[in-house]
C-alpha cells in the first residue's frame, strides 16, 4: 500500500527525517510512535505529498506520490492534527462541502455523523463544539468518503478516555471494512491495542519496528516482580529463581497486599532504547 525507501528531509540545516523505510501492507493498522518533535507529522506530510523531500522514494497504491490521479486521491482520507473546520458552519454544512468535493451522496452525511456520535449536534455551529467533538467531526469528514487509505495524525490526543475508546472503535471498524490505516500517536497503550505493526520513531530515525507484542517480548530481559506490602512498602524483585525464597517468605507471613509481574510495555521499551520518555517531557515541562 505504502512503500518508502530512504526518505530524508531537513528544514534549513536541521535534519528532521533521516533515511526512513516503510512497507505498509493493505488492510493493516500501522502506528508511528514517537515523542513530540520526532518527525511524525512531517513524515505523514511527506507521504501525502504536502511536503517536498530531498531524497528517497515513496509509492502509494504502487505509484509515486506525484503521479497519483484525482481518483486515487479521492480514496485517501487525511486527518492532520492542525487541520481546521469551518467554525461558523454547522456540522452538516461542514460535511456537505466535502461530500460535494468528493462526490459522495449527501445521504452519507447523516450516517457519518451518527457513526461518530454527533447526530444530536449536527445542526450546531462547529465553534460551539468541544475539542473531542471537533475531532470527531474531522473524523466524520474522512470516514464519510470511505477511504481505502486513511492517515490519522494523533487522532486521540487530548481526548477523554471514553471518547478515545470510541475513536478506537471507529478505527477498528475502518480496518474491518478493508481500509489501511496509518496513525501516529504518543500513547503506547493505544498503539498496543490498535496497531498490527508499529514503528518507533526518534529524532527522525526508526529505531525499531514490528508487531507491538513482538517488540515487547524482544525486550523481555528485564522482567521484574512488583510487590506491594500491607505495611505500604513497595518491593521490586527479579523475576526468577533468586527471588522465590523471599516471595515465599512474604507470602507465608501474609504480608503481601498485591503482587504483579511486569512485562515491558512499548513505553518501557522506548525508554530503554532512547532514554527518552514518550509522553513528551516537554509537554509536562510547559504545562
Amino acid at each position: 500500500m505504502i512503500k518508502a525507501k530512504g526518505i530524508c528531509k531537513s528544514f534549513a540545516d536541521k535534519k528532521v527525517i533521516t533515511g526512513v523505510d516503510l512497507d505498509i501492507k493493505p488492510g493493516m493498522i500501522f502506528g508511528l510512535l514517537g515523542p513530540s518533535g520526532a518527525g511524525k507529522t512531517s513524515l505523514i506530510r511527506i507521504i501525502t505529498g504536502q511536503l517536498v523531500f530531498e531524497s528517497g522514494e515513496i509509492s502509494v497504491f504502487g505509484k509515486p506520490v506525484s503521479e497519483l490521479s484525482g481518483e486515487d486521491k479521492r480514496q485517501i482520507g487525511i486527518m492532520m492534527d492542525d487541520h481546521g473546520v469551518y467554525d461558523r458552519l454547522s456540522c452538516i454544512e461542514n460535511l456537505k462541502i466535502f461530500a460535494d468535493i468528493y462526490g459522495v451522496p449527501r445521504s452519507r452525511i447523516k450516517t457519518a455523523l451518527a457513526q461518530v456520535g454527533l447526530a444530536d449536534a449536527s445542526k450546531k455551529p462547529a465553534m460551539k463544539l468541544s475539542k473531542g467533538m471537533r475531532t470527531r467531526l474531522q473524523l466524520a469528514r474522512v470516514l464519510m468518503i470511505s477511504p481505502r487509505l486513511l492517515f490519522l495524525d494523533e487522532p486521540t490526543s487530548g481526548l477523554d478516555p471514553m471518547t478515545m475508546k470510541y475513536v478506537h472503535k471507529l478505527i477498528l471498524e475502518q480496518k474491518a471494512n478493508g481500509c489501511t490505516v496509518f496513525l501516529t500517536t504518543h500513547n503506547m497503550e493505544e498503539a498496543s491495542c490498535l496497531c498490527d505493526e508499529v514503528a518507533l520513531l526518534n529524532e527522525g530515525k526508526i529505531i525499531d519496528r514490528g508487531a507491538p507484542g513482538e517488540i515487547c517480548r524482544k525486550y523481555n530481559h528485564q522482567k521484574k516482580v512488583n510487590i506491594h506490602l500491607k505495611s505500604g512498602e513497595d518491593l521490586e524483585l527479579e523475576h526468577g529463581a533468586s527471588s522465590s525464597g523471599k516471595i515465599a517468605e512474604l507470602m507465608a507471613q501474609g504480608q503481601i497486599e498485591t503482587i504483579h509481574s511486569s512485562e515491558p510495555t512499548l513505553e518501557t521499551v522506548f525508554i530503554e532504547l532512547t532514554g527518552r520518555k514518550l509522553e513528551s517531557e516537554e509537554e509536562i515541562r510547559y504545562a
Partner: protein, 228 residues
C-alpha cells in the same frame, strides 16, 4: 468546475453567519436607498449619493471580503483541508472571486434602481470592472498575508485610499490630480458622465494599467506564497 461551484455554495452558506463580511456587502446598497429617498438638497447633482456610494462600495466591499475570506481560511487551516481534498488553488480562488463578484453585482443591482432603464447597463458595466480590479487586489492581500491580522492591517489603508480619495477629490483639486492615477477615480468620472461620449483617453488607459498592475501583483504574490 464542480469544485468552483462547491466553494461558491460554501461561501453563500457562510455569508449569513459571517456578520462582518455580510455588512460589507449590504451597507452601501442600503445606505444608498435610504439617502436617495430621504435626503434632498437643492442643487444637488442627480443621483449624487448613488454615485458617491457606488465608488466607495467598489473600493471597499470586494477588496476587504476577498482578503478576509482567504486569510481566515489560511489562519484556521481550512484551506489546507480543501487542498488535501484535491481542490486546485485556481479553483478555490475562482470560487471566492466569483462569489464576491456575484454578491457585489447584486448590491450594485440594488443601487442601480435610481437610474433610468437605459442607463442601467452602463452603470453595471462600470461597477463590474471596478469589482474585478478590487477583487484582484483583495486576492493579492489574502494570498500574501498568512493570518487575518496581517490581512486587515494591509487592506485597511489600501481600501481607504481607493474608496475615500475619490470622494475627497470632489473638494480639493490637488487631491483630484493625484486621485486620477486610481481606477476608482476614473470609474467615478465615468459615472459622472454616464456615457462613453466625451470620455478622455486617459480613463480607459488608467483603468487598464490599474487592472494589469493588480493582476501582476496577484500572480507575484501567488508565485511567492502559493496558498500555504
Amino acid at each position: 468546475m464542480r469544485n468552483i461551484w462547491v466553494i461558491i455554495k460554501k461561501q453563500l452558506a457562510d455569508t449569513i453567519k459571517n456578520k462582518p463580511v455580510l455588512i460589507q456587502f449590504v451597507m452601501y446598497p442600503v445606505l444608498t436607498l435610504i439617502m436617495e429617498n430621504a435626503v434632498t438638497i437643492p442643487d444637488m447633482p442627480e443621483l449624487f449619493f448613488t454615485k458617491l456610494f457606488s465608488v466607495m462600495y467598489m473600493g471597499m466591499a470586494p477588496l476587504t471580503s476577498v482578503a478576509s475570506i482567504i486569510s481566515e481560511e489560511k489562519e484556521k487551516n481550512t484551506l489546507r483541508v480543501l487542498m488535501m481534498a484535491n481542490v486546485k488553488p485556481g479553483e478555490y480562488l475562482a470560487g471566492v472571486g466569483l462569489y464576491t463578484w456575484i454578491l457585489c453585482m447584486a448590491g450594485a443591482g440594488v443601487m442601480a434602481t435610481g437610474f433610468s432603464a437605459y442607463q442601467i447597463p452602463f452603470y453595471l458595466a462600470v461597477m463590474a470592472i471596478g469589482f474585478i480590479i478590487s477583487i484582484a487586489i483583495g486576492a493579492c492581500i489574502g494570498v500574501f498575508a498568512s493570518n487575518q491580522m496581517t490581512a486587515s492591517s494591509l487592506f485597511v489603508p489600501v481600501m481607504l485610499v481607493f474608496s475615500f480619495v475619490p470622494m475627497l477629490a470632489m473638494f480639493n483639486d490637488k487631491i483630484e490630480k493625484c486621485a486620477r492615477i486610481f481606477y476608482t477615480q476614473q470609474l467615478r468620472e465615468m459615472l459622472d458622465l454616464m456615457t462613453f461620449d466625451g470620455l478622455k483617453i486617459e480613463t480607459p488607459v488608467v483603468i487598464l494599467i490599474n487592472a494589469i498592475l493588480a493582476i501582476t501583483l496577484f500572480f507575484i504574490a501567488f508565485k511567492r506564497k502559493g496558498l500555504e
